[in-house]
């Protein structure tokens, strides 16, 4: 959850932000034109404002006020964005944790970017249904693969570089097929950027795979054993799934950060994802602060829908965890089975050797061979069990954690709302009014997100794939035993 508080990368990151700004403008102008929302105009900001007023329903009143106070950027941010900067303001003042939003320039830029990003989704809200329909109709064409893990460097500074290959027919990318090399911290950096931008709005940002200090150290140190290869493979698969899930999300797909991640050959080091960096410590402190906050904030859940959903998610989370535990046990036992079958195969072969009746001896050797093949089968099945089923479940469990994060955000938002209301009562300022008015929109956003259609489909597809793998295993088993049967019958 602290990920959402992750400040945009400092230092190195700054130029990136500027780049992003330009990209962002380009992005939105061009894509907007593609979607034929409105004729594009040279000034993105005002254009977007007008557009919003015509198309969207939410922040309309806010956008109208956009043109008025341009001098005070904060005010602008407040009105324009309304979904995001109120978060940032209080962050600087009232939060117990040390200031998370750092240097002012970035803050200045950030809200502007936020505003664009925030407005963009609003525009796209209308066309999002179109996009979704496209997705359902398989015209949504972007394929991402993560492959070829390579160890770069030596010793403790070594890292694994993964090749990220994108194949797409979407016009917003410059090429239709390209690949770049990324390392794990790049993925984490991408996630934190996306999270900081979208989580406030109530979007569910797919969670990134977890850091594993132990695992990586083993790889760094150069242990060439199977556990480190397994670890790398696990991570590769998890990264792939993460990217795939992220691009499935139509709004996130439009994000310039994501595009840059996929396309540009050099990515500035996301230093703040290191576990022991200053930002890392900040994150930990924030996490603790959040936990305390969670305990102290009591919210009268006026919206029954949310309450119900929250309860549902709690249950779902529990069930998934249990299921996950069972599947992990299955994986473990299957691996055991595979090992034991291999041992038995060898033993049977030895027995066949010492048997002096020739036909029986041959049959026993055949049995040994069959069992060996079956052992391989079991191993493959164990992999399938693991990669398809178990990892899927853990991804979902993390997703649920992210959803919970959204809920928590909502609670915070509610708190802000309360504060705003108090402010309203006290000061009766326009800003407060705006904040009050804009909370419902955010909830609407969250509601849209929590719509689980896609996730459900995802889950179903994976389970079906898994069942198909089981089918294949059985078919192979049948083949092997059918081959063995005549041998057994031939024992004279």
């Amino acid at each position: 959850m602290a990920a959402e508080r992750e400040p945009p990368p400092l230092g190195d990151g700054k130029p990136t932000d500027f780049e992003e700004l330009e990209d962002g403008e380009d992005l939105f102008t061009s894509t907007v034109s593609t979607l034929e929302s409105s004729p594009s105009s040279p000034d993105p900001a005002s254009f977007l404002a007008e557009d919003i007023s015509t198309n969207s329903n939410g922040p309309k009143p806010a956008e109208v006020a956009l043109d008025d106070d341009r001098e005070d950027l904060f005010a602008e941010a407040t009105e324009e964005v309304s979904l995001d900067s109120p978060e940032r303001e209080p962050i600087l003042s009232s939060e117990p944790s040390p200031a998370v939003t750092p240097v002012t320039p970035t803050t200045l830029i950030a809200p502007r970017i936020e505003s664009k990003s925030m407005s963009a989704p609003v525009i796209f809200d209308r066309s999002r249904d179109e996009i979704e329909e496209e997705a359902n109709g398989d015209v949504f064409d972007i394929e991402i693969g993560v492959s070829d893990p390579e160890k770069v460097g030596d010793g403790m500074n070594a890292y694994m570089a993964y090749r990220v290959t994108t194949k797409t027919s979407l016009s917003m990318f410059s090429k239709s097929e390209f690949s770049v090399k990324r390392r794990f911290s790049d993925f984490l950096g991408l996630h934190s950027k996306l999270a900081s931008k979208y989580l406030h709005v109530g979007y569910i940002v797919p969670p990134a795979p977890e850091k594993s200090i132990v695992g990586m150290t083993k790889v760094k140190v150069g242990k060439e054993d199977s556990s480190s290869t397994e670890f790398v493979e696990k991570r590769r698969a998890a990264l792939e799934r993460y990217l795939q899930r992220t691009v499935k999300h139509p709004t996130l797909l439009q994000d310039p950060d994501l595009r840059q991640f996929l396309e540009s050959s050099e990515l500035p080091r996301a230093v703040n994802t290191q576990a022991l960096s200053g930002a890392g410590i900040l994150r930990m402190v924030n996490k603790a602060a959040d936990a305390v906050n969670k305990m102290t904030i009591k919210m009268n859940e006026s919206d029954a829908w949310f309450e119900e959903k929250q309860q549902q998610f709690e249950n779902l989370d529990q069930q998934l965890r249990k299921l996950h535990a069972s599947v992990e046990a299955l994986v473990c036992h299957r691996k055991e089975l595979s090992a034991n079958t291999a041992a038995f195969a060898k033993s049977a072969a030895m027995l066949g050797n010492s048997e002096d009746h020739t036909a029986l001896s041959r049959a026993l050797s055949q049995l040994a061979e069959v069992e060996e093949k079956i052992d391989q089968l079991h191993q493959e099945q164990a992999f399938a069990d693991f990669y398809m089923f178990s990892e899927l479940l853990s991804d979902y469990i993390r997703l649920i954690a992210a959803v919970k994060g959204v809920f928590d955000h909502r609670v915070k938002c509610w708190q802000k709302w309360e504060d705003a209301q108090i402010t309203l009562l006290k000061k009766r300022e326009t800003e407060a009014k705006m904040m009050v008015a804009n909370k419902p929109d955010k909830i609407q956003q969250a509601k849209n997100e929590i719509r689980e259609k896609e996730r459900v489909k995802d889950f179903k597809t994976v389970i079906i794939k898994y069942l198909e793998s089981l089918v294949q295993t059985q078919q192979q088993l049948i083949k092997y035993w059918e081959a063995f049967l005549p041998e057994a019958k031939a024992i004279a």
């Binding site: 069930q319 299955l330 034991n340 033993s347 027995l351 050797n353 049995l367 019958k489």
Partner: protein, 415 residues
Amino acid sequence: CAGPRLGAAMMEGLDDGPDFLSEEDRGLKAINVDLQSDAALQVDISDALSERDKVKFTVHTKSSLPNFKQNEFSVVRQHEEFIWLHDSFIENEDYAGYIIPPAPPRPDFDASREKLQKLGEGEGSMTKEEFTKMKQELEAEYLAIFKKTVAMHEVFLCRVAAHPILRKDLNFHVFLEYNQDLSVRGKNKKEKLEDFFKNMVKSADGVIVSGVKDVDDFFEHERTFLLEYHNRVKDASAKSDRMTRSHKSAADDYNRIGSSLYALGTQDSTDICKFFLKVSELFDKTRKIEARVSADEDLKLSDLLKYYLRESQAAKDLLYRRSRSLVDYENANKALDKARAKNKDVLQAETSQQLCCQKFEKISESAKQELIDFKTRRVAAFRKNLVELAELELKHAKGNLQLLQNCLAVLNGDT
């Protein structure tokens, strides 16, 4: 605690008589082929009762032999009485030249009982469905172990009944007919200790005796073969056991997964939940099949290997006895030579030498036949069981496949 309760349950379940002995158990009997063909003496265990710490077998005999008072009769025997019978064979010098059918292993329900007890204790911590499911599972396991032990006792009796010489043994007839308690108590500590020492001496002796090179090629070959074979069967049997056990654990996991999916599916009635329910059903059914697979593997493969482990040990014992008598014979020869040289006690030495020679020759002759029979039996048993194993595996894999394909069709059709 679960013990007596289950005992009662067993009693109810087993009053059905021969029905509970399913084909699997007859499969175990068939490890020794050609046992059913002899109408003169047929022995089987028609019923069994499991009580707290003992099992009572009802031994049923059908015979046309004149030795018995009736043509058909039954007695109740316990495990210790089987052991007594077996030991009486071993100790009988006349049977030195035969492979004595290995004694059935002691009925061991401890592990199963423990699990049932743990389940009872943990009842509060799981849902009702889970508890019922697990209880059913454990009860099925208990029943399976029970059936196996019955089968093994039966095999022992059948082997004895099928053996041309052993079937005539008086103790055996007493065992079959005497309808009172044989008053055979289990060995007490002192006797067990004696046994232990006897075994030690025997194995030490075995080592000495095996150093004697045999003139007869047949026996020499058999000795080397049996030694190696026995060790490898031991290894294969252990590994096969482990394999079937992990197979069973994997099948059990399916059970848990099925329950979790079911719980997920009953949350509400959306599409995904119906999906879950169907998949949960699938897992339940698959699990039953997988459990059968592992049970069949256990029966056809592991039990086969275990049995031949014991039989090969018995064959080894036969060879040992023969070698022992050979050594005795040679010693007697040497003694005779010495006596002749000293011209003292020649007659005595001669008689003893004669006896040893006779003994040796008798043993050798019957041993040869026994070992040849052993091989035939072994080959036939392996053939039968391997064929059955392959057929069962095929049947289950096809069933599993069908199940999975059906489920997939339904699921795909829905989406």
